[in-house]
């Protein structure tokens, strides 16, 4: 059984078809890329998978469980986490709290225990805080734990967003333009980093990206979208030479 399966997923915003007949069979451990020009529907697909939007038609399932109709927090609990194109941390909370909140669904105490600070409250909160700190130290962010997230340098904020996503305990990680705003050198590092987290946390990853270098460099399989439709899919070298893709990206009469 595939980890994630999308069948004929279609989504309309009013009369505008943002995604049409999107299909995907994703096996556990795969790392695939979704590329396409601006407005091709890439981020919409992430929003459909995570339940932010409800697909107009079609079905999406995770480990055989239907996701369409579920709320985003239910879907998160089924093991899907994501990052955002424009970093969306809780900037007023501390770095540690940003990671702690991602453990919400795994806490186990009653409000009364919480108010009185007794019983499971202490042990559970301690467990979560320790786990969050461990995770931060794996990503060398533990030195910033008490700092407000807004005060982190840009690259660290990107890393923190990934840490926060990992703290929800995902099997599937959706990365929305992780290389945005990075220089070629940083992109090289990011490629190693993505491979590393995949192996370390046994993840399956879907990546949305504009940076061809990154996508061609690490994705095992690529899907190309244009105006909501899938125009090509295959191995990186197949995509690189696909005339439809070149046309969508470069316009007619572009690079031959």
């Amino acid at each position: 059984m595939p980890l994630l399966q999308a069948k004929q997923v279609t989504h309309y915003f009013g009369g505008l078809c943002a995604v049409s007949d999107f299909n995907l069979d994703l096996a556990a451990g795969e790392l695939i890329g979704i590329i396409g020009p601006n407005g091709a529907g890439k981020t919409t697909i992430f929003n459909l998978i995570t339940g932010v939007y409800r697909a107009t038609r079609g079905s999406i399932s995770m480990n055989g469980v239907e996701l369409v109709g579920k709320t985003p927090n239910q879907i998160t609990q089924l093991g899907i986490a994501r990052t955002f194109q424009n970093i969306r941390l809780f900037k007023e909370l501390s770095v540690l709290d940003n990671v702690r909140i991602a453990n919400y669904s795994r806490l186990n105490y009653t409000p009364l225990e919480a108010m009185l600070h007794v019983g499971r409250y202490r042990s559970e909160e301690k467990r979560v805080a320790e786990k969050a700190l461990d995770l931060l130290s794996v990503f060398r962010l533990d030195g910033w734990a008490e700092e407000r997230a807004a005060n982190l340098p840009y690259g660290s904020q990107r890393r923190l967003e990934i840490v926060r996503a990992l703290a929800t305990g995902p099997q599937l990680l959706l990365l929305d333009e992780p290389a945005a705003g990075m220089n070629p050198n940083e992109i090289m590092q990011l490629m190693d980093f993505i491979h590393w987290i995949r192996d370390q946390f046994k993840l399956t990853i879907i990546l949305i990206e504009h940076q061809m270098r990154l996508v061609m460099g690490i994705c095992e399989r690529i899907k190309v979208l244009d105006f909501g439709a899938t125009i090509a899919e295959g191995l990186p070298e197949e995509i690189r030479n696909n005339p439809k893709v070149l046309e969508a990206y470069l316009g007619e009469g572009g690079e031959e």
Binding site: T76, M115, H117
Partner: protein, 291 residues
């Protein structure tokens, strides 16, 4: 000096009631960026539940307080689900107008059952101590201490627990909170339950201090508590507490040292001036509007 200390004590009593109500405004604003203008009327319902529990059920103080808080919390959660939740994506003005409508409904619903003002029986044995010329009553002590205790509990919940952290996260960016596995609707309901039950606690204590209650009592008190929340910095919990005590202090002191008819005029005038210099309130911070 004794006169001033006496008035200071009165200011503490009134201020703690304003602060408790202001917390309800500020918590709801914090997570929904909406002013729940029905909150003053929920305070009134709290006072009426206190009246019912004390008069008809003949309950003592603590059960009366708990019954009033629980009843209003349920009502607050129900109002959010029925009236506000369908408007969560609508412009905020629609939600605010709905809140005004809910307030009018509560006033008139209460009016049906109680067309005349009611008298709340004294639930607390009235004892008065005199310390250095300042007289202090058992009721004043209870109101001040209980309010402070409730505020400390709230502060602990918001700062220390996961639910509190979720509330703070929602106030920052509501749309991504569910992606952390946090059930948004549940947290919003908990916020309404806590905020409105604090308002009910204030209603209960207010009706013991000023025992004649009527269905419109929540209007002016609600406005003043709302202004307290704005003065403290709306959306900021500690700000609401400070704002409540400031407003209570200004009101009592104006009445104590000037003709008492100046009270509201001077109090509101001072607040207008304060807002000119600190438009986001005492503890509020300007924040970029998010889309």
């Amino acid at each position: 000096m004794t006169y001033f200390l006496q008035q200071l004590l009165n200011a503490m009593q009134l201020g703690s009631i304003y602060a408790l109500i202001a917390l309800g405004y500020t918590m709801v604003y914090g997570i929904l960026t909406m002013i729940n203008f029905a909150h003053g009327d929920l305070f009134m319902v709290g006072a009426f539940l206190c009246f019912i529990a004390a008069t008809f059920l003949k309950l003592p103080f603590v059960p009366t307080l708990l019954l009033s808080m629980a009843g209003v919390a349920l009502l607050g959660v129900a109002i959010e689900r029925v009236a506000y939740k369908p408007l969560r994506q609508a412009p905020r003005v629609s939600a605010v107008i709905t809140a005004l409508g809910v307030g009018l409904f509560l006033e008139n619903f209460t009016l049906v059952f109680s067309p005349y003002p009611q008298h709340v029986p004294a639930l607390i044995a009235n004892r008065t101590w005199t310390i250095g010329g300042v007289s202090i009553s058992s009721l004043q002590i209870i109101i001040i201490l209980l309010s402070i205790a409730l505020m400390i509990i709230l502060d602990l919940v918001v700062r220390r627990t996961m639910v509190g952290m979720a509330m703070r996260a929602i106030s920052w960016d509501k749309s991504i909170v569910p992606l952390m596995g946090v059930p948004l609707d549940l947290i919003i309901s908990i916020t309404f339950a806590i905020g409105t039950s604090l308002g009910a606690a204030a209603g209960t204590m207010y009706s013991l201090a000023f025992p004649v209650i009527d269905p419109y009592m929540g209007i002016l008190v609600g406005w003043k508590a709302f202004i307290s929340a704005v003065v403290g910095g709306i959306g900021n919990i500690r700000g609401a507490m400070i704002g409540g005590f400031i407003l209570g202090g200004v009101e009592i002191m104006v009445a104590a040292f000037m003709p008492s008819t100046y009270r509201d005029f001077v109090a509101f005038g001072l607040l207008l001036i304060l807002l000119i210099f600190r438009p986001y309130g005492i503890l509020g911070k300007p924040r970029p509007q998010k889309v």
